[in-house]
């Protein structure tokens, strides 16, 4: 029984992580992780600035069809 519960718990965590990633909810966390691993020591944007930049970039070009 505990194995099943643990399995459900794992599945729940991974689906939740996927949902956050699809919707872009965790974009800032991933940005911080990327900065920490690839550009350590450099200044990072704060949450608000990051999302402003992200939106501007997304809507610069063609981003959707009919």
């Amino acid at each position: 029984m505990p194995e099943i519960l643990a399995w459900i718990h794992r599945k729940w965590l991974s689906s939740w992580a996927l949902l956050r990633q699809v919707s872009g909810d965790d974009a800032y966390d991933r940005y911080l992780a990327h900065q920490a691993s690839c550009h350590p020591g450099q200044p990072v944007l704060n949450r608000k600035e990051f999302f402003q930049r992200r939106l501007t970039r997304k809507w610069q070009g063609i981003s959707r069809c009919c």
């Binding site: 996927l18 949902l19 956050r20 990633q21 699809v22 919707s23 872009g24 909810d25 974009a27 800032y28 940005y31 990327h34 900065q35 690839c38 949450r47 608000k48 990051f50 999302f51 402003q52 930049r53 992200r54 939106l55 501007t56 970039r57 997304k58 809507w59 610069q60 070009g61 063609i62 981003s63 959707r64 069809c65 009919c66």
Partner: protein, 561 residues
């Protein structure tokens, strides 16, 4: 053993379903056959045809580094989980097109549209999306325009850009009219669609300033508010003074949509466009899943005949014979050149492995094609008389309900004015006659399917939910299209005077946005001021004119007289 039998089994089942659809005459067939035929065809094509193209034609190489890996910068280029890329890609390609197109094409009967959606999707649209995605991935995720310039030279590049702008203008104008027709003289629909704007703005503020970047939280809140707006519209419809205020005619609403389009093109994206895009994506996925479950569970019978007499071009909804009009009406859902713009530039920057190209390019389009099949089912489960009463303009069938009902019955689709009156009452509308454009009849179809699951008492809510959902979709496409057109126009004008090319220079923004709107005006005038249509005939947009006493079809050339 079981494994060996799986694919032959799918093939036999698919062939059985397709032949049932194609050969049934006279007796009513079940919507489940449509879903079965579609699912079997897509899975066979995905497993064999797409795999063959990927391996033999494109020679996809799973060990080759993608642009996302080579140019990874943490924001634009970023290797991403393939399901996440699939979600983004699907959300970008599937808008209102696959819902509205099949609904209109149902005037030819269910057969031509359904066959074109399945065959066109499997052999055309899916292949196109996959191949462009591949080409762009191999060329550092360049956009279609850049690739055209590189491969065809500056003239070819400019031609590709001009073609894109033209398609977009037609798209914006047609979609704008769909919203107008759904709202005219309907206080409930107008109030609900109107309420989506402040809701989107509030969510925009919420995600920017109150809780920056909390996308899931903000979207959930927005969806709840939108559902409340649907119910609130019903309350406004019940109150006399308020419903008079929201009861507007087509021309006024068309002006409002134009004014709104202009405002949306120059407002910052975070305020309106971006939050509404989040909301429409959530609504879209929810509604599509709900519709699929409802169709499979209820297995409604198809009431539309396989072919109608209107394949000769005498149809009331749009003039034009089966060829080429079934192919023009259903673009998104079968094959859409616009997808090439999404598949190049945007999606390849996220691709973690070339192996995923088949699933994202081919699979994403197959899913959109499936959405189109469901829209076709939703249109064809309506009584044909009801379908034609909703979609035929008053200029063809007459303004009075009795007159229109008699005219439609004379075509062999029996319908009575009382039946339509009762249906309109159930849907919370004053009338359903001549609500052209495709959105209202899809909404009636969806409401009647959902109504059978959740009870008839909620029909009016479901109807207006469907209208709101389509309007949110369409307005998002309208905004994004206007904005993209603005960028493209600025890009082109920037070659003449560099200052105009600066996307942050306010006079240039206003000028180019206004120019886009001016083009939109032509279409509205073509619709509502018939005398203009001789001066600005544009190919492909061939709605019947509401005033036309004759059955003349507006073609891409001037009409004598």
């Amino acid at each position: 053993m079981l494994k060996k039998l799986l694919w032959p089994g799918v093939a036999v089942l698919g062939a059985l379903a397709l032949s049932t659809i194609a050969l049934a005459r006279g007796e009513s067939i079940n919507a489940l056959w449509f879903v079965t035929a579609a699912v079997c065809c897509y899975s066979l094509a995905y497993r064999f045809y797409a795999a063959w193209i990927a391996a033999k034609v494109l020679t996809i190489d799973a060990s080759r580094a993608t642009p996302a890996e080579r140019l990874n910068n943490g924001h634009d280029f970023m290797p991403t989980n393939k399901w996440v890329v699939f979600g983004h890609h699907f959300a970008a390609i599937a808008g209102p097109g696959p819902l509205v197109g099949p609904t209109l094409a149902a005037q030819f009967g269910y057969l031509p549209g359904t066959l074109w959606i399945i065959i066109g999707g499997v052999l055309g649209g899916c292949v196109q999306d996959m191949v462009i995605l591949f080409c762009s991935t191999r060329r550092d995720a360049k956009s279609l325009g850049q690739m055209a310039r590189d491969e065809l030279g500056p003239i070819g590049g400019a031609a590709a850009l001009t073609g894109t702008i033209t398609i977009m203008i037609i798209l914006i104008a047609v979609l704008g009219l769909v919203v107008v027709n759904a709202m005219k003289h309907s206080p409930w629909a107008t109030a609900t669609v109107g309420a989506t704007l402040p809701i989107a703005m509030f969510i925009g503020l919420y995600m920017r300033s109150i809780r920056p970047g909390r996308v899931l939280e903000g979207s959930l809140l927005g969806v709840v508010l939108l559902l409340l707006a649907v119910a609130g519209g019903g309350w406004i419809d019940g109150s006399e003074t308020l419903s008079n205020f929201f009861d507007r005619d087509g021309l006024t609403l068309a002006w409002l949509v134009i004014a709104y389009g202009f405002a949306a093109a120059i407002l910052p994206v975070w305020l309106l466009l971006a939050p509404r895009d989040y909301l429409s994506t959530f609504l879209k996925l929810g509604t599509i899943v709900l519709l699929a479950i409802a169709i499979v569970w209820l297995r409604p019978a198809i009431k539309m005949p396989a072919l109608t007499t209107f394949i000769d071009g005498t149809g009331p909804i749009f003039g034009g014979s089966l060829f080429p009009f079934v192919f023009i009406t259903i673009a998104c859902g079968a094959i859409s050149g616009f997808h090439a713009l999404i598949s190049s530039g945007t999606t390849p920057k996220l691709l973690a492995n070339e192996r995923d190209i088949r699933m994202i390019g081919y699979g994403g389009m197959a899913l959109e094609s499936f959405v189109a099949v469901m829209a076709m089912v939703a249109a064809c489960v309506l009584e044909p008389g009801v379908y034609f009463a909703i979609n035929s303009p008053a200029g063809i069938v007459g303004k009075e309900a009795a007159e229109a009902a008699a005219k439609i019955s004379s075509w062999g689709f029996s319908i009575s004015a009382e039946h339509m009156q009762e249906l309109a009452r159930q849907m919370g509308e004053s009338t359903l006659f001549a609500r052209t454009g495709g959105a209202p009849s899809l909404a009636v179809g969806m409401a009647s399917i959902f109504g059978r699951v959740f009870g008839d008492g909620l029909l009016a809510l479901w109807y207006h939910f469907a209208i709101m959902f389509e309007a949110v979709f369409i307005l998002t496409t309208l905004d994004a299209g206007t904005r993209v057109g603005r960028f493209m126009l600025q890009d082109m004008l920037g070659n003449i005077w560099p200052k105009l090319g600066e996307t942050s220079w306010t006079p240039s923004v206003v000028l180019t946005s206004a120019d886009r709107q001016r083009l939109g005006l032509f279409f509205v005038y073509r619709r509502y001021r018939p005398e203009w249509r001789r001066q600005y005939p544009v190919a492909f947009v061939r709605y019947r004119q509401p005033n036309a006493g004759s059955n003349r079809v507006i073609r891409g050339h001037r009409h004598p007289g």
